[in-house]
């Protein structure tokens, strides 16, 4: 198994899927000549040409809609948003067109499209460039919402997303692109909707996904040194959510922390907590605790940004809280 970056894992997935299926094309800002704002599409223009690696003007609403129209008549677009912050300009196409056309046409038109790009905060990009949108889009029936946290999961899930016959929202992370991990040499797919148990333990469950996996793992390591062993459930997909994986773990540990990058109100964590109270009410030994971004727009100053974001220390504190250790 080779060790590759999250960025290269995505690049491999795109290349392999474009080689496999000539209906697949990549469209977005700077994906071609510039080789990708974050270099995810490096080399693809040279391999596939400008009809399949399409540089767009800065016009999110327009090219998101072009993707949906092309998908309606049989192509399989991968639409890159330079960041999901800019995708707000395109949300009408994602929600009103991509998510609903299959239903409101009575099943006549399905929309096999992937909308992908980095999501959430990086470093000191402040309020308009540091938002996590999972809960916004996971709210909408007709979409699948994927948020992988490792290179292995990123590659396998992107390949599945491209092959899916439905619109798939694919959240990457600017802070994830340089992270490394083992990726199998042979071809593999990871099914959308399947969580992965990233750590095994019996004292508490941490439910998380995406970039926050990178907080949960060191938190689990540190807790283990104190004799606290946690299950880390990496959802990988937030819609459809692998509820069985959550409940199986909570029934074992009787305690849960839900860790996410986004805001608290109506967040993904709120949904996870709802599943837990519905299915594991009698199993719980303590109220579930959530870790999330502070309920403020992201500030610029380093110290304030640090205070606003979830981190390893906050995650450890949350685990200790549900275990009544402090």
């Amino acid at each position: 198994m080779a060790v590759v970056t999250y960025r290269d894992a995505l690049n491999q997935a795109l290349r392999e899927e474009m080689q496999r299926d000539d209906r697949v094309f990549l469209m977005g800002e700077e994906v071609g000549v510039y080789q990708g704002a974050y270099k995810v599409s490096k080399g693809l223009l040279q391999e596939f040409g400008e009809m399949r690696v399409v540089d767009t003007p800065i016009t999110e609403l327009g090219f998101a809609g072009i993707g949906v129209g092309a998908a309606m008549v049989g192509l399989r677009p991968v639409i890159e948003f330079m960041t999901w912050n800019f995708a707000l300009l395109a949300i009408d196409q994602v929600v009103n067109s991509a998510a609903k056309l299959h239903y409101m046409s009575g099943g006549q038109f399905n929309i096999p499209i992937v909308f992908r790009g980095p999501n959430g905060a990086a470093l000191q990009l402040s309020a308009q460039h540091s938002q996590a949108f999972e809960s916004w889009l996971a709210h909408v029936p007709g979409l699948k919402v994927v948020s992988p946290g490792t290179p292995h999961d990123a590659k396998g899930l992107l390949k599945s997303a491209v092959r899916d016959d439905n619109p798939v929202i694919f959240f990457e992370g600017e802070m994830l692109y340089n992270t490394k991990g083992e990726v199998p040499d042979e071809e593999y797919l990871i099914p959308i909707g399947k969580a992965d148990q990233k750590r095994e333990g019996e004292h508490c469950t941490i439910v998380t996904y995406g970039k926050s996996v990178l907080l949960a793992m060191p938190a689990a390591d540190q807790l283990a040194r104190e004799g606290i062993r946690v299950d880390v459930i990496d959802l990988r997909t937030v819609r459809p959510m692998d509820v069985d994986a959550i409940t199986a773990s909570v029934r074992k540990t009787n305690r849960a922390v839900v860790l996410e990058e986004g805001w608290e109100v109506a967040g993904i964590g709120a949904q996870v907590v709802d599943y837990i109270q519905r299915d594991c009410f009698d199993d719980l030994d303590a109220p579930v605790v959530r870790v999330h971004q502070a309920d403020v727009p992201m500030p610029y100053a380093k110290n304030l940004e640090r205070a606003a974001k979830p981190d390893v220390a906050k995650t450890i504190a949350a685990v200790k809280k549900v275990m009544y250790l402090e």
């Binding site: 094309f25 009809m51 767009t56 003007p57 016009t59 609403l61 327009g62 090219f63 998101a64 809609g65 072009i66 993707g67 949906v68 129209g69 092309a70 998908a71 309606m72 008549v73 049989g74 192509l75 677009p77 009408d92 196409q93 009103n96 067109s97 056309l101 299959h102 239903y103 409101m104 046409s105 009575g106 099943g107 006549q108 038109f109 399905n110 029936p141 007709g142 699948k144 092959r163 899916d164 016959d165 439905n166």
Partner: protein
């Protein structure tokens, strides 16, 4: 781009090459749309049809004339005012009426309603409900045609209010930049709901919006079905053979309110204005021409009318007899099973 052409005048039926049979088909299409919509209004008043319902009465020449310029394998995408265009494309009146009635035999299986008529078998890619939202989709369909190296065309209907949305401009820019085979057809019926064009758009010759994108553009009398057909044919030819998009402004007028829930006149337009426009009823315009040419007489017109009324009655009866969608269909078609 050298091909840019600006037609400065309305060219009534310029370039018309219709045969008597084609004119008869156009008359038939328009009259079927009219009779259909009249019964839709009745059904709405009776509570058989719910929700928002936007009638096409007054604009029939646009749907009929433009559709006549297309091939079977071309694509159509449109707005929520979609009944007339669906009929003009050949969607079964039964399936449309059943959709409006919210029944399982509807062309969208009762899931779409008045604003969301679809028929995949006819490349009728739907009524879309967000003003401007479907215009980028049309560019995407054009992109797909070009991607596959086909020679089809996408015809995109829209109301004149669309020209003030960002989606319109983003789509036109890329369609022109990438030379996509799309005809952007504006049905300028003078009012976006209750707001007159002059109160909404900084320029009033709205086909000129295309000048920003170096896109061929023209306007045409939308009450003259032969003119609409001829102008659309020219735009379709340009798209098909040169892969160049066109913005075609078709000047028409709706004889009804914006939807079934607003007054026909009295608030944002006067009765006198409405009556003035109704003198140029598109069905009468063609009928008079055909009568003068001896192609139809009063008796022939009556026979045609009776035949079409019977088709609409049959559609009504079919819709009423069609079952409501089964409750288990509530959760169907949210996602499709992935087979690849």
């Amino acid at each position: 781009m050298a091909q840019t052409k600006v037609k400065r005048k309305t060219e009534t039926a310029a370039g018309d090459d219709t045969t008597p049979e084609q004119r008869r088909d156009l008359l038939r299409s328009m009259l079927l749309q009219r009779r259909f919509e009249e019964r839709v209004a009745e059904a709405y008043a009776l509570g058989r049809i719910g929700g928002f319902c936007h009638l096409y009465i007054g604009q029939e020449a646009v749907g009929a004339g433009a559709m006549a310029a297309l091939r079977e394998d071309d694509y159509i995408i449109t707005t929520y005012r979609d009944h007339g265009q669906a009929i003009a494309r050949g969607v079964a009146p039964r399936a449309i009426m059943a959709e409006l009635f919210g029944r399982s035999d509807g062309c969208s299986r009762g899931k779409g309603g008045s604003m969301h008529l679809f028929d995949r078998s006819l490349n009728f890619l739907g009524g879309h409900g967000i003003v401007g939202g479907h215009v980028p989709l049309a560019a995407g369909i054009g992109f797909a045609i070009k991607y596959r190296g086909g020679d089809q065309v996408c015809l995109c209907f829209m109301g004149e209010s669309v020209v003030n949305t960002g989606a319109f401009h983003e789509a036109l820019n890329m369609a022109s930049l990438w030379k996509l085979p799309v005809v952007f057809l504006i049905e300028n019926n003078r009012y976006g709901m209750g707001t007159a064009l002059e109160r909404a758009s900084s320029i009033h010759d709205i086909y000129m919006r295309a000048a920003s994108y170096d896109m061929p553009r023209a306007y045409v009398d939308g009450q003259d079905v032969l003119a609409v057909r001829a102008s659309t044919l020219e735009a379709v030819r340009r798209a098909r053979t040169e892969s160049i998009p066109t913005l075609l402004e078709v000047r028409t007028y709706r004889f009804m309110g914006h939807s079934m829930s607003d007054a026909v006149s009295g608030t944002y337009r006067t009765k006198a204005e409405l009556e003035e426009y109704m003198k140029r009823d598109p069905i009468m315009v063609l009928r008079m021409r055909m009568q003068e040419a001896g192609e139809i007489d009063d008796a022939g017109m009556t026979r045609l009318d009776e035949e079409l009324k019977a088709i609409v009655q049959d559609a009504w009866d079919f819709a009423e007899a069609s079952p409501e969608p089964p409750l288990e269909s509530l959760y169907e078609d949210v996602l499709v099973e992935t087979t690849t």
